[in-house]
């Protein structure tokens, strides 16, 4: 029999879904700005991207604040314990209905692989996208601020795009792995209602 526990608080759920919406928007508009396709038109893509970027920045500042004041940041402390078990589960166990090696609790919401992945997103992809994005946004101030001698738009855009590709790859894997919980929809339901079904 399965039981339910309350894992995601209102703020976390709000943070998650608005971030998801913003990141998808940023991906769609960003790659249009990049020249990969044309969807909204370059001008609207730029404006939407800029707006969504600032909103995301605002959201993150808020989220960081929340994580530290609530102590929830501990959720992301990396651990290697059971990482091998997680890998094994995704590679074999999941196909044979073996029990999920990780049981979410209020204090441990993420499985060890999730912890690593999210930490990577937050410590690597995120900062890369932020810093390059900011340099990009303030391009017109470079000369005034004397930065133009150190920066080249081409490289700033290059790293921003690298980070964007990584974000896209993360997104694909992440969306798929939401179906790899106790049941196919248990993770998604948890992020919507806050209640996760566990064994």
């Amino acid at each position: 029999m399965s039981e339910k526990i309350y894992v995601f608080k209102v703020f976390e759920r709000f943070w998650h879904w608005s971030q998801a919406g913003l990141i998808i928007t940023l991906l769609l508009t960003g790659f249009e700005v990049h020249g990969s396709y044309s969807l909204f038109g370059f001008e609207d893509a730029v404006n939407t991207h800029t707006l969504a970027a600032w909103t995301l920045v605002g959201l993150w500042v808020f989220a960081i604040f929340w994580h530290f004041t609530t102590g929830e940041w501990k959720q992301y402390i990396p651990t290697l314990v059971k990482v091998d078990a997680m890998f094994k589960y995704y590679l074999t166990g999941i196909f044979t209905h073996a029990p999920h090696p990780f049981k979410a609790t209020r204090l441990k919401k993420h499985n060890p692989l999730q912890r690593l992945a999210y930490l990577g997103v937050m410590l690597f992809i995120g900062p890369l996208i932020w810093f390059t994005g900011w340099f990009y946004i303030f391009y017109d101030k470079w000369t005034e601020w004397g930065w133009d001698q150190y920066l080249s738009l081409e490289w700033v855009a290059f790293f921003h795009t690298v980070a964007a590709f990584l974000m896209l790859i993360f997104l694909i894997a992440h969306v798929y792995l939401t179906t790899a919980g106790h049941t196919v929809t248990s993770h998604i339901k948890a992020m919507i209602t806050g209640w996760e079904e566990v064994e």
């Binding site: 249009e32 700005v33 990049h34 020249g35 990969s36 044309s38 038109g41 370059f42 001008e43 730029v46 995704y90 999941i94 196909f95 044979t96 209905h97 391009y139 017109d140 000369t143 080249s152 738009l153 081409e154 855009a157 290059f158 795009t161 690298v162 964007a164 590709f165 896209l168 790859i169 694909i172 894997a173 798929y176 792995l177 179906t179």
Partner: protein, 550 residues
């Protein structure tokens, strides 16, 4: 005093004459306004001087120089000022490259060269009588004041008259049956005023031998332009004249095609008169951050782009096509009666003229875009050339990283013209004249070139051929209203040939696509991830089904 009396007399006479008219009228409405028949009040003069009242100008002038002498009695320094300018000397020494330029020296790929054709070309000289190389540049009365200061629109100088207007009724073009009336010098002189779009345009709209031919951004449509054509000059808008931007100081007119200002100083926007070193740039009024805060992203473009690049989306927009090609090599074909002929293109413009060769005209042309730092180098007559290449009659210097360049729109004009195959140099040839060496009389290139080269005292091997040439003209006039400026995506486009700046090197431009290998790697990895999760998911579904069946 006398003038006042005369005016009074005229007024009385007018009323007296008007009375019978009014009486004869049976229309009561007419009776209400007898003043209608009074002579129109004299034209309002904004200047503090009415040249119509100067006794020096109450004369039946016989010639242009006579008028000039009258002008100089009051404007004592005017001729001396003019004599220092390119408008007079047709000569310019580029201080940096030391190239001796100016219409007198340069060979272009339109009408090519002035020497040996003075009488014809000097219809656009601000002087009288430059018919050959013996012209006296120090004679003050040879300065033509009227051509710039006429307000009557009746003063016209005709090619072939060495800068004089017609003093008698003259058939022009010769044998055309059209008569250009003799100029009324007294009327023109008495109605003198500031320069206007029409006076500057009389020459500058007709560069290259006809309306709209040369520049592409200067043609007669600017005489009275609508707003869509030129936001500054539109009569229902700001109604600028040429002189509003080309703010003249002692008859010296700023703005130069020999030493253009490619990257104007970042001036703060200010009004005219404030110690301007380059009044003729956009920046001198608009500054370098001209867009409002809401569009501040556009201001980040101003260090790389000339204003003209976005704000003059096309040239020759006024309904007058501009010439884009002139091939002299085909000149001289005659019809079956041995007569020169012309053919027209579908737009009614000359496609072929026996005197000049083949032409191409285009309207609403998208400019080419180049890095330009203001330095222009000319292929002069002395310059040795490589006839296997397209000769750049002038070439614009510039690059993405010299710190002095901006991206500019230019008209590139293509030509084919004769050169000396013995010396590998461009030649001067004699196009116009009443003698039998002129190309337009005899259609004999040998004689025409021989004559032209003798005229300038240059060595000529006696053998010529035609070489392909190219000339660039910066586009700077015909500034469109802001709603017609280029939109972002017209440049920020993947490099498929539609982006305006596709061919401009040395810049990273979002949307243009660079680093294709990054795209390949990025999309490739994303695709692999997608395939991975699909495979994983597929396997899960498959195995789950199989499990169910058991």
């Amino acid at each position: 005093m006398l003038v006042k009396r005369l005016q009074y007399l005229a007024l009385m006479l007018g009323i007296v004459l008007a009375v019978p008219v009014v009486q004869a009228s049976s229309d009561p409405a007419a009776e209400m306004k007898p003043a209608a028949a009074v002579p129109a009040p004299a034209k309002e003069i904004r200047s503090t001087a009415d040249h119509g009242k100067f006794k020096e100008l109450q004369k039946d002038f016989k010639s242009g120089p006579e008028v000039t002498q009258a002008c100089l009695t009051c404007h004592t320094e005017a001729a001396k000022q003019i004599m220092k300018t390119k408008h007079w000397t047709w000569e310019f020494l580029n201080p940096e490259s030391k190239q001796r330029l100016g219409k007198k020296n340069v060979i272009n790929n339109f009408c090519t060269a002035v020497p040996s054709n003075y009488e014809f070309c000097t219809a656009c000289h601000v002087g009288y009588g430059w018919k050959d190389s013996s012209f006296d540049f120090n004679k003050q009365e040879n300065v033509d004041c009227l051509v710039c200061h006429d307000t009557t629109k009746t003063y016209r100088k005709l090619p072939g008259m060495a800068g004089h207007p017609p003093y008698q009724d003259t058939e022009f073009p010769p044998k055309s049956g059209k008569i250009v009336p003799a100029v009324n010098l007294k009327d023109v002189a008495q109605n003198i005023g500031k320069t206007s779009r029409a006076t500057c345009g009389a020459c500058h709209f007709n560069g290259g031998g006809g309306d709209a031919v040369k520049h592409g951004d200067l043609d007669s449509s600017l005489k009275d332009p609508k707003k869509y054509l030129d936001v500054h000059m539109a009569k229902d808008g700001l109604n600028f004249t040429c002189g509003t931007c080309h703010e003249t100081d002692g008859h010296n007119i700023p703005g130069s095609r020999y030493t253009p200002i490619a990257k104007p100083k970042d001036a703060n926007p200010h009004i005219r008169g404030k110690n301007d070193s380059d009044p003729v740039t956009c920046q001198s009024c608009h500054g370098n951050k001209p867009h409002p805060q809401a569009l501040s992203r556009l201001n980040s473009h101003t260090d790389k782009l000339a204003c003209q690049t976005c704000h003059i989306p096309e040239y020759a927009r006024g309904g007058k096509p501009t010439k884009t090609l002139w091939d002299w090599s085909t000149a001289g074909k005659l019809d079956k009666d041995g007569k020169p002929f012309k053919t027209k293109d579908s737009g009614g413009h000359d496609a072929y003229d026996s005197r000049k060769g083949d032409f191409k005209y285009e309207a609403n042309v998208i400019p080419e875009y180049i890095w330009f730092n203001g330095k222009v180098n000319y292929t002069l007559r002395e310059t040795k050339l490589d006839p296997n290449q397209v000769i750049k009659v002038n070439s614009f210097e510039g690059s993405a990283d010299d710190g002095k360049s901006k991206i500019w729109p230019v008209k590139v004009f293509h030509g084919k013209q004769p050169y000396d195959i013995g010396n590998n140099q461009l030649v001067v040839f004699h196009t116009y004249g009443k003698d039998d060496s002129a190309l337009w009389s005899n259609f004999n290139w040998d004689k025409a070139i021989d004559y032209g080269m003798k005229e300038i005292g240059a060595e000529y091997s006696g053998k010529y051929a035609f070489v392909s040439t190219e000339m660039s003209w910066p586009i700077t006039h015909m500034v469109a209203p802001k709603k017609d400026a280029l939109a972002c995506a017209q440049c920020h486009a993947p490099q498929t040939g539609v982006g305006r700046l596709d061919k401009v090197p040395g810049i990273y431009m979002p949307g243009r696509r660079a680093n294709e290998w990054l795209n390949t790697a990025g999309w490739g990895l994303a695709l692999l991830t997608l395939l991975g999760v699909l495979g994983h998911g597929g396997l899960r579904i498959y195995l789950a089904r199989k499990g169910d069946q058991k």
